[in-house]
């Protein structure tokens, strides 16, 4: 183990954490919003839209993340160029990665949201209607908070998954944690050390995220009967 390498490389790898987090956070926000929309569309069986969503979800879930990244990075600019003539090559690679990660999150989270929305019994929605609330008020104040409480454990898993998924952005040249470590390891062939550093960093980020989600879960589940742990 080359400890001098670790000492020198560590600050530089740590400096790449914001890139990883930025990708993960932006893709999560975009992906989950799309995921909620897909879930609502499919639950309400909106004609055409619902079928398109079903195909989208099944398609994205069947494609390896790396392929999705390649498509976003290499094929998407070409398609945009031939369709509109707009040159997108000046857009940094990180945004193509974010597109791919968002699509991935949208597909997976939509299933999580769908199940969570189903878990809130329809009676409460009817009760909200019966007091004169609009569907939007009922969803926002009654259904979504309860669905979110149900969805959180799975969403937590998705989020930790996407943090690790960002390491694939290395393939399209985004210098996040993994790519930075690799780059630094190359000259002296210090790969073992580099991977130890990345492992520890990913573990720490995952650990912190899990704790945050767990706290949120406890807060959102206040209304549930206390069960013996």
């Amino acid at each position: 183990m080359n400890f001098t390498f670790i000492k020198e490389a560590l600050p530089q790898v740590l400096a790449a954490i914001p890139v990883t987090l930025e990708m993960a956070l932006v893709a999560t926000i975009i992906g989950w919003i799309i995921g909620i929309l897909i879930a609502v569309a499919r639950r309400n069986k909106i004609p055409v839209v619902s079928q398109i969503c079903a195909v989208f979800v099944s398609f994205i879930r069947g494609v390896p993340m790396v392929i999705l990244l390649y498509v976003a990075y290499y094929a998407l600019p070409m398609m945009i160029y031939s369709a509109t003539g707009i040159d997108t090559t000046s857009i940094p690679a990180i945004w193509y990665a974010i597109v791919a990660l968002s699509l991935d999150q949208a597909a997976y989270s939509s299933e999580v949201f769908r199940a969570a929305l189903d878990s809130v019994n329809r009676g409460q929605l009817e009760a909200a209607w019966s007091v004169g609330m609009t569907t939007w008020q009922a969803m926002r104040r009654i259904v979504f908070p309860q669905a979110l409480a149900v969805a959180l454990p799975n969403l937590s898993g998705l989020f930790v998954g996407i943090i690790k998924g960002t390491s694939l952005a290395y393939y399209v040249g985004v210098y996040e944690i993994t790519a930075t470590a690799n780059l630094l390891a190359n000259p002296g062939l210090n790969f073992i050390e580099a991977y130890v550093i990345t492992t520890v960093i990913y573990e720490l980020i995952s650990f912190i995220c899990n704790r945050l989600f767990h706290t949120a879960e406890t807060r959102l589940n206040r209304f549930r009967p206390k069960t013996v742990a």
Partner: protein
């Protein structure tokens, strides 16, 4: 006239549930609807606030008339804001405390400032005997307490009419009394009520009018002293005989599987 239903028809798929029901209810009436399961009584109640919109006919509450076939969202909202409903399974908002459950409609629908809504809600919960339970979540309460909170949630909106959909059917037998007592207390305040129930004793005591429904139509109606004591229609007679049979679970009377009408009167001439 407080509530007026005209020629309400409703079917689920090929099953005709309501076959043209007409019903006029005056201010302050307590109407109890009886009938075997599948008679359409719950569906009729749910067509009034459009939880199950009728296929044909019209619903009037107060001065507000909505056509079942052709209705807009604001029209339905207007109807729902004049009515309130108490559900068989309480349907309290699980993520809100009892107090918040009652306040919810005041804040979101009636736009009352929070402190005002809270004060009114506390009074209402005290009225239904839940003054010790304001900050409990529904899951921490008994069925009877949940249902009384449900009644408070409906009552607090000062609706023109309260719709009760089998309010005691999901309760343990020992909790039925407290809820019926609460409903009785509300009936005495003169608010218009429509109650779908299997509690004959309650109907006898509280109803100003009893309606017997079967197969999607109103078979017979009148004051409880007539309908419950001297029913004219053989279908009503049969139902009452069965429901007062101590061995019969009133929730599962199926009139269709009945023995071929034994006491059919052969008309002379």
């Amino acid at each position: 006239m407080m509530v007026s239903l005209k020629n309400i028809k409703k079917s689920f798929g090929s099953q005709q549930v309501l076959n043209g029901v007409d019903l006029d209810i005056d201010v302050g009436e307590v109407v109890v609807i009886l009938g075997p399961s599948g008679s359409g009584k719950t569906t009729l109640l749910r067509t009034i606030n459009f939880l199950d919109p009728g296929d044909e006919g019209s619903v009037t509450v107060g001065e507000h008339t909505v056509n079942c076939k052709k209705h807009t969202r604001p029209e339905v909202l207007g109807l729902r804001r004049r009515t309130a409903m108490v559900f068989q399974n309480y349907n309290l908002f699980a993520n809100k405390t009892i107090l918040e459950n009652v306040m919810e409609g005041l804040i979101t629908v009636k736009r009352r400032p929070k402190p005002v809504a809270e004060e009114i809600s506390r009074k209402m919960l005290t009225r239904v005997g839940l003054s010790e339970r304001f900050d409990y979540y529904p899951s921490a309460l008994s069925g009877g307490q949940q249902q009384r909170a449900g009644i408070a949630r409906a009552l607090v909106l000062e609706p023109d009419v309260i719709l009760f959909d089998e309010p005691t059917s999901a309760l343990d037998p020992e909790l039925v009394g407290e809820v019926l007592q609460t409903i009785k207390g509300i009936a005495e305040t003169g608010i218009t009520m429509i109650v779908v129930t299997h509690e004959i004793a309650f109907a006898k005591e509280v109803a100003s009018r009893v309606i017997y429904m079967q197969d999607g139509v109103i078979v017979e109606q009148g004051p409880p002293s007539e309908i419950l004591v001297h029913p004219q229609d053989p279908r009503t007679q049969r139902f009452l005989r069965r429901i007062t049979d101590p061995n019969q679970d009133p929730k599962h009377i199926d009139m269709k599987q009945d023995d071929p009408q034994p006491e059919q009167v052969v008309e002379a001439g």
